[in-house]
Symmetry: C2
Subunit: 331 residues, 2 copies
Amino acid sequence: MDRILLGHGSGGKLMHDLIRQYFSPAFGIEGAGDSAVVNVPSNRLAYTTDSYVVTPLFFPGGNIGDLAVNGTVNDLAVSGAVPLFLTVGFVIEEGFPFDDLKKIIASMSNAARKAAVKIVAGDTKVVNKGKADGIFINTSGIGVLPGERWIAASLIRQGDKVIISGEIGSHGVAVMAERNGLTFAPPVISDTRALNGIVREMYDVASDIHFMRDPTRGGLATTLKEAALESKLCIRIREQSLPIPPGVKGACGLLGLDPLFVANEGILIAVVKASDAEAITSAMRKHEHGRHAAIIGEIADAPSGVVLLETTIGGTRIIDMLQGEQLPRIC
Amino acid sequence: MDRILLGHGSGGKLMHDLIRQYFSPAFGIEGAGDSAVVNVPSNRLAYTTDSYVVTPLFFPGGNIGDLAVNGTVNDLAVSGAVPLFLTVGFVIEEGFPFDDLKKIIASMSNAARKAAVKIVAGDTKVVNKGKADGIFINTSGIGVLPGERWIAASLIRQGDKVIISGEIGSHGVAVMAERNGLTFAPPVISDTRALNGIVREMYDVASDIHFMRDPTRGGLATTLKEAALESKLCIRIREQSLPIPPGVKGACGLLGLDPLFVANEGILIAVVKASDAEAITSAMRKHEHGRHAAIIGEIADAPSGVVLLETTIGGTRIIDMLQGEQLPRIC
């Protein structure tokens, strides 16, 4: 058997075999109940979900499997939570190659191990050929919020500094290149990775982080605009401070894209007290995923809800959310 | 705008508008963070996920929306948990009618209210036309396990009684009828509904329930076979005791289906101490979803892993799991 059949999603014997032979060993899921039973060390939880529909399924630096684990881990991490448990729901198209499924499962298992989270429950549905696009994966995640940790745009204050943890644009460009058969020099690979490690380092030096978010779909611009709107303050960013890898800069120039709107999967922005900004940025730079961390701007009181970019040539540009769709099915 | 566009899943402005105008009001989701923050009254949780790919999306008695809420509520309930919070992930095909989405959202909101659970986080992805089949919905759910509650096939003991909460086969027949344009007299409507209410009534009269499961995909036969295999005991069922509605019986006869393998979405089986069985069944019969509750069999020690059906004509039939697929995309 080298392809997925409808019966693999039937609830019957084929599905039981699939779970016992592949999913349970890869994820270390024991038992066969309708729910996992988990113990959490706190009553205050972060809880999130994301579906992943990226095309192509395999791209430089990752595939839909590690993306689905890292993306949900990151949503918990930027909420200030320590990610603990994930669930995974597969929707698979009939005829999907078993070998690809095995690769995806192995990547998920590996990503979960690296992020120190456990996949505790799962579900598989199979739809007829032509009724899905290979495989879609949903993950949900639970994390605990230690102490009084609270991340919210409403905590952002005038004078706060804006920090970015790493270079922008790599995920979007890597997926687009793979999709269109382009190669760039230097090559661009997706930054998909878990951010809970770097967030832990940040909290080690400053307990009071006002706001964090990972700028995925819609890119850095959309995330900053959300923060400006939600906080009712103004975010001023210096273009010169933005870490953009040469490969991304070149590819975006060639394709007419703005790196500010290109998706990322392994960076975060944080808004912190000015007095904490240097210490946090230094701590981030010591982490393998934060070597390019930088203070990229600060919070002003007006105009409310606006993001302003001071360009390298000395002008000021108003940054809005992504309108419509720059690159569909990026994650 | 009467159809879903790719931009509704972009992370940008269209998606923000969709969330603000439709999802947030329907589900009462506040804030815009990457995760919901929830408080749980216990450190012992049940955690589950399911994806829903039913076709057609609308069928007698329900649609994919209430199915997605009730199904996950039920997975928590039959684990002995009190369901509290759900997440929802939509994968929508470009061009999907906005009116259908609105109906589905309204059904989800209504089902969540009835089941007394709160949808706290969500995600929307849109894929190109032809790359999905209208809409797929994933839900995950968290519930708390009061006290020492524990449901497991390993707790099943020889002499225990098997109880069913209601009539079998309605969901599968309703979906099949709708898919094939058939009408039956009497009409058959799906039994999709939340079971956490009836489970509460059961625990009110007996704190020690050994095993519960809701026989969805694969039907009652598959669920019983799972329980027999996991407990390494024998389950003996009397065909005569099985509540099968006349419409299901007629439709199954006509279509050559065995109601034992037809999917259900609103019933559960429970395995309980013989001394508790009557009290639990009486309590169930007083609940609106348990009027047909019945003791349908008992646990013997051998042959291990086997389900035996005593037929109405006095024979004995060995019941196995569903092999392959009787009716794809039933939930």
